[in-house]
Symmetry: none
Subunit: 128 residues, 4 copies
DNA sequence: GTGGTCTAGACCACT
DNA sequence: GTGGTCTAGACCACG
C-alpha cells in the first residue's frame, strides 16, 4: 500500500489522505473488516505530521467508512465499499459543479468546457 | 454594472472581485482607456470593506490589466483585452488541471470525466 | 516656451512642472523681472489641472524664484538665476544620494554604480 | 538577522521590507529551501504591524522568490537566487533610469552625471 | 474625491 | 503557531 500526496496542492494534506484511503477502500485494497495501518504508520507512509494523519482517519470514521476500537485499531466498515462508491459519484458531481461555477466566474464559454477538459486530458497523457 | 459575491465561497472575496472585474474587461463592458469605478464605490457595490476592494484593484494592476493614478482614478489598460484573454486561457487550464488531479485522487475514471462534465452542464441548463 | 510632462512618471505632475519652470529660469528663457504665464495658460500648456499648475507656482514662490503680485501677475525674481543655479547643485546631490541609498537597499555593488549609470546613459543615446 | 526600516522614507514600509528580504536571499543569508521567520516574528523585528509584514511576504511570493504553506511556514524558493539576481538588475536599471530622467528635468548636464555620482560615493566613504 | 499605506484586532483553516 | 482574509478606521499625497 502506497500513499502519495502533493504538498503544493491547494487541497489540504489531510483531505488528500482521506481521498487516498477512500480510494483504497473503493478498489478493495482495503477490504471490509480489515485493519488499516495505525496513525503513526500512516503518517510515516504519507510523510505527514501525525496530527494530519489522525485528522484524516477521524474524517473517515465520521463518514462511516471506518470504525475505531480503542486499544485494538481501526477497521474498515462492512458496508464501506457501498458507501465509498456512492460517495464517489456525489463527490465527483460536486467537484464538477465547483469547476463549472468557477469557469463561469472566469467568464469562460461553458459550451467549450468539456472539449477543453478532454484536450487537457489528452495533453497529460502525451506528457507521460 | 453590478457585482455579486458569495461570502461563503472558498475563493476569497477579493479574488472573486478580481474575477468579476476581469470578466467585465474581457467582455468589453469595461473598455480600454475607460475609467473603472473608484475603490470606494466598488466597495459599496460589492458590499465589502474599502480595503478589500482596493486589494482587488491592486491585483488587477499587478496583472497589468489596469493602471491606477493617485488622485485621478484607475483606468483599463490599452492591451487589457489581450492580456485578459490570455490569462483566461491560463486560468481555465489551471482550473481544469486541478479538477483532473482531484478526480484522479477520488479514484474516478478519467476517461469518463468530459462526458460527465457535459452531463452536469446539461442538467444545470434543464434546471433553468 | 514649451512644457512636456510625463503623467506616468512617479514624480508628481506639479513637481515636474516646478522643475521645468526652474530650468527655464536657469537657462535664461525666463529672465529676471519678466512675467511668467498665468496659471490658466500654464495649465493649458502643460495639459494639467489648474490646481496642479497653481501648486507648482506656489512652490516656486516659496523657493523665492518668483514673486506673485495680486492682480498683476507673477514675475521672475531678480536673484532667481543665482538661486536656481545654487539649488541645482544641491538638488542634484540630493538626488544622487537618494539613488545611492536605494541601490544599497537593493543590495547592489556600489562600486559598479557609476559605470552602470554611464552605460545606461549610452543606451539612451543610442536609442535616439 | 536584523531588519532596519526608515519610517520617514518615501518608499513604503512593506516595500522596504521586501527589499531587505530580497537582499538577504540574494546574498545567500537566506538559502534556498530554508525557512524565513514567521510573519509575526518579522513584524516584531521590523517594528511594524503583522499585516504590513504579511504584505511584504506576499509580495515576495508573488515574485516567486518564496513559497508560503499555511500552517507550515514560508520557504525560500529553489530558484530564488537566480530570480533575485535577475530582478536586481532590472530594479537597478529602473532606478538609474529614474535618476537620469529626474536629472534631465532638473536641467543638469547628463554627461557629468556618472562622475558626480562617483564623487558622491567617494564623499560618503570618506565620511566613514 | 482619488488611490495608497498603516495599524489594530478579529476569525479561519491547516499543521 | 502558521499563513490568509476581512473589517474598521485613520492618515497621506495628489488632483
Amino acid at each position: 500500500m502506497q500513499i502519495s500526496l502533493r504538498p503544493s496542492d491547494p487541497l489540504p494534506l489531510y483531505r488528500q489522505l482521506v481521498e487516498q484511503l477512500r480510494r483504497q477502500i473503493l478498489l478493495g485494497i482495503l477490504a471490509p473488516g480489515s485493519r488499516i495501518p495505525p496513525v503513526r504508520d500512516l503518517a510515516v507512509m504519507a510523510r505527514v505530521n501525525r496530527n494530519t494523519a489522525a485528522r484524516a482517519v477521524q474524517a473517515l470514521e465520521a463518514a462511516g467508512l471506518v470504525c475505531a476500537r480503542v486499544g485494538r485499531g481501526t477497521f474498515v466498515a462492512d458496508d464501506a465499499p457501498v458507501r465509498a462508491r456512492a460517495s464517489l459519484g456525489e463527490a465527483l458531481d460536486a467537484l464538477l459543479d465547483r469547476t463549472i461555477d468557477e469557469a463561469r466566474l472566469l467568464g469562460a464559454d461553458l459550451e467549450e468546457l468539456p472539449a477543453r477538459l478532454a484536450a487537457r486530458l489528452a495533453d497529460k497523457e502525451d506528457a507521460r
